[in-house]
Symmetry: C2
C-alpha cells in the first residue's frame, strides 16, 4: 500500500520536443491513483518553484484543454531552471526550504524531469530526505536531446531532435543541390560533449541526402583534415555537405569554437563552429555556407517522432508507477531488447550512477576515419525517429498549452 500524500512534478534544464509529453504521462498517471496521490502539483520553473513556494495545482477537469495540448507544446510548459543546489555541507539553507515546502504541501512523490544536472539535484535531495527521515519518493524522468544520460538506451527528446535534424539536413541538401555547381555547406548541430545529435544527420541518407562528412566532439578535430576532406568532396561532386557538432575539439581537448563564456553549471557556452570553419574556407577562396540549426532542434513540435513522443509519455507514467512502488533516488531508464524487433523495457536505476555522468557516442558508431557514422549508428538510431504525429493547429499556427500564465 503506497504512502498517501501529494505529488509534485518539475522540469529542469533545456527543454526538448517531448518534455511536456513526459509531463502529460506523469500527470495523467498520477490522476489514476487517488488512493495514494491526493493532489498533483507542478513546481513552476523547476526547483525554483519549490524554493519560492510557487506551485500550481493541476486539476483534471479545469486543466483539461491545457493538458491535451501538452504533447505538442515546445519549451518547458511548467517552466525550467538551471539553478544548481549547493552541496549540503556548504549551505543547507535551500535543502531546509525544500523540506519546509514539502511538509507544508504534504509532498510524498517528487517526479523531476531533466538531464544530467537535474539528476544530480535529485540525488542530493534524495539523500537529504533520507537523512532527515522525511518519507518521500523521488524518481527522475530523463529528458535531453543530447542523449547523453548513462544507463538508458536513449533519452526521451533525442528521437524528435534526431528526426528534425535528419529532415532539415535533407531539406538543406535538396535545396542546395538545386544548382549544378555549389559550395561547401557546414551545418552546425547541438552537442557540447557528445555527437549523438550530429550523427543523426546521417539519417538524411534515407532520402539520398546523407552528409558527406560528420564531425563529433568525441573524435579530435583536425582543421587540416576537414579542409582536405571537404575540398575533395566539393571537387568531386560540385557540392559538399558537412554536419559538425558545436562541441568539436582539437587534439588538446580545446573547443574549436569556444567563445569564452560559461553557464551557471560552469559549462563553456559554445557557438560558431560552422562560422569558424567557413571563415577558413573563405580565406582559401572556397564558396561556403554556414548554417546553425539552433533552437528548432528542440522546439520544432511540427515534426516530432511519434516513437519518441509515445516513449516520453510512457516514461512519465512508468516513473509514477515506480514511485508508487516505493522506488526512491532512481531514474526511469529504457532498456532495448537485443532482438531484431525494436522494443523497450522500462526500469529504474540509481540516480547516483547517473547524475553528472556522460554517455559518449561509442567509437564503433563512427567509421574508421572518424568522419562519418558506421552502420551501427544507423541501426541504433533508426527506430527512434519512426512515425509522425499530427498536431492541432489554430489558423495555421500550432496550438500550445500554457500553464505559466493561465
Amino acid at each position: 500500500m503506497a504512502l498517501k500524500g501529494n505529488l509534485i512534478y518539475g522540469q529542469s534544464g533545456g527543454p526538448t520536443g517531448v518534455i511536456n509529453s513526459s509531463a502529460y504521462g506523469v500527470i495523467s498517471e498520477a490522476f489514476k491513483h487517488p488512493e495514494a496521490i491526493q493532489k498533483v502539483y507542478a513546481s513552476l520553473y523547476g526547483i525554483d518553484g519549490i524554493l519560492s513556494d510557487n506551485l500550481r495545482e493541476i486539476e483534471k477537469e479545469a486543466d483539461k484543454t491545457n493538458l491535451e495540448l501538452l504533447k505538442q507544446t515546445p519549451g518547458a510548459a511548467f517552466g525550467s531552471t538551471r539553478h544548481k543546489l549547493p552541496l549540503y555541507k556548504d549551505d543547507p539553507t535551500e535543502y531546509q526550504k525544500v523540506l519546509e515546502i514539502f511538509q507544508k504541501y504534504n509532498i510524498r512523490y517528487f517526479l523531476y524531469n531533466g538531464g544530467n544536472d537535474s539528476m544530480d539535484t535529485l540525488t542530493k535531495l534524495s539523500a537529504f530526505f533520507k537523512n532527515s527521515n522525511y518519507e518521500c519518493y523521488l524518481v527522475g524522468v530523463p529528458k535531453t536531446i543530447d542523449n547523453d544520460l548513462v544507463d538508458t538506451d536513449h533519452c526521451p527528446g533525442y528521437g524528435s531532435a534526431a528526426k528534425y535534424i535528419a529532415n532539415s539536413f535533407a531539406g538543406i541538401v535538396k535545396d542546395a543541390s538545386s544548382y549544378l555547381k555549389g559550395r561547401i555547406n557546414v551545418v552546425e548541430i547541438m552537442g557540447r560533449d557528445t555527437g549523438w545529435l550530429t550523427a543523426a544527420a546521417s539519417l538524411a541518407g534515407l532520402s539520398d541526402c546523407a552528409p558527406d562528412l560528420i564531425y563529433v566532439p568525441e573524435i579530435p578535430f583536425s582543421v587540416n583534415d576537414f579542409l582536405a576532406d571537404s575540398k575533395a568532396v566539393l571537387a568531386k561532386k560540385g557540392h559538399a555537405f558537412v554536419a559538425v557538432s558545436e562541441g568539436i575539439r582539437d587534439n588538446q581537448g580545446a573547443f574549436v569554437a569556444d567563445n569564452g563564456t560559461v553557464d551557471a553549471f560552469g559549462h563553456p557556452q559554445l557557438g560558431g563552429a560552422a562560422s569558424y570553419l567557413c571563415s577558413l574556407l573563405t580565406q582559401e577562396g572556397i564558396k561556403n555556407r554556414a548554417i546553425e540549426l539552433s533552437l528548432a532542434q528542440r522546439s520544432a513540435s511540427y515534426i516530432l517522432s511519434k516513437a519518441d513522443q509515445e516513449e516520453a509519455v510512457r516514461a512519465g507514467q512508468e516513473a509514477v508507477l515506480a514511485a508508487l512502488r516505493g522506488i526512491d533516488g532512481e531514474m526511469l531508464c529504457f532498456l532495448r531488447d537485443k532482438l531484431d524487433f525494436y522494443s523497450l523495457l522500462y526500469k529504474t536505476f540509481p540516480l547516483k550512477e547517473i547524475g553528472g555522468q556522460i554517455k559518449y557516442l561509442p567509437r564503433t558508431m563512427m567509421n574508421g576515419k572518424g568522419n562519418n557514422v558506421s552502420s551501427e549508428f544507423i541501426t541504433y538510431a533508426l527506430p527512434l525517429i519512426q512515425g509522425e504525429v499530427s498536431p492541432s493547429y489554430n489558423n495555421g499556427v500550432l496550438a500550445f498549452a500554457d500553464f505559466l500564465h493561465n
Copy 2:
C-alpha cells in the same frame, strides 16, 4: 485551336517549399492536352539546360512515382540557375542558342518558374522570339518566398515560408520562455529588400508567441531605437523576442549587415544582421541570443501551408492553360477578391510590367512606430498559411522526387 508542338518547363532562382508543386501543376496539366502538347520536357538547371541541350523528357507512366513526390520535395527538383541572359544587343549568342534548341525539339510552349530575375529572362526571350518570327508561348509561373513580385496578390512559396517562420518563431518563444528570466532573442529572417517574410513572424501571435519587435528593410533601421526598445521589453517582461530582416538598412539606405560580396545579379550578399545586433547587446552586457532561420525557410517541406501548396499547383495549371490560349510574355498572377471570403482569381499580366520590379511591404501593414505589424498585415497574411499537409515519410525521413539523377 492551339499550336501543336512540345512544352518545356524550367525552374530558376532560389527554390521555395512549393516550386515543385507548381512543376506538378504544369506537368500534370500539360499531359491533359495531347491535342496541342505532344511531349513535355524539363530543362535541367533552368535556362542553362536549354543552352547546353540538357533536357529531360517527362513521361506520365515512367515518372509516376517521381511526379507524385514532387509536391513534398524541397529545392528545385529540375535544377535551378542564377544565370542572367545578357542584353541581346550586347551579345545575341545565347538567344540564338535558345532558338536553335527550341527548333530542334519543336518547343512551342515555355513555362518558366521563378522570381524577378527569371521573369526578366522570360521578357527578353519573348521579345526575341517575336522578332525572330518563331511562334512560341512563354508564360511565367511566379515563385518566391520573398513575396516581392508586383501585379500578384502574393507569390506561391510565400505562404509556406510564412507558416514555417510563424511556427518556428512560436517554438523559439515557448522554448526561451521556459526560464523566468531570459534575454533578448534576435531572430534573423530572410528578406533582402522587403519585409514580407519577417512580418510573418507576427502570425506566431495566434499562439500567444508574437514578436515584441519587428524590423523590416522598408523602414530605416535605427540602432539606438532597437537598443532602447528591446531593452525596455526585456526589463518589463524578462524576455524580448525580436524579428529582424536580413536586409535592414540605415537611414542612408546602407545595409546594417553588408558583408561586401555580391551575387551574379549584383545583389549584395547579406548575413549576420542578428549577430551584429547581438554583438551590440553583448557590448552593453545584455544577455542575448542570435538565431538565423536560414535555409529551412524555403526547404522545410515537413511544414507546408496547404493553401500555398494548392495555389502553387493551380498556378502551374493555369499558366499552361493560358499558354494554350495563346498568351505570351505574361506571368500568372493571383487576384484576391475583396470580399470577406478569401478566394483567388487567376489572371496573367504582361511580364514587362513585372520583371525587375519589387513589391514592397506597404507602410500601412506596419504600425505607426514602424517596429511591428499592423492588423492590416495579419488580415492579408492569415489566409496564406491555412491548412496542413501530410507528406509521406520513408522510415521517418521525407521521401523526395529526384529528376536530376534518376
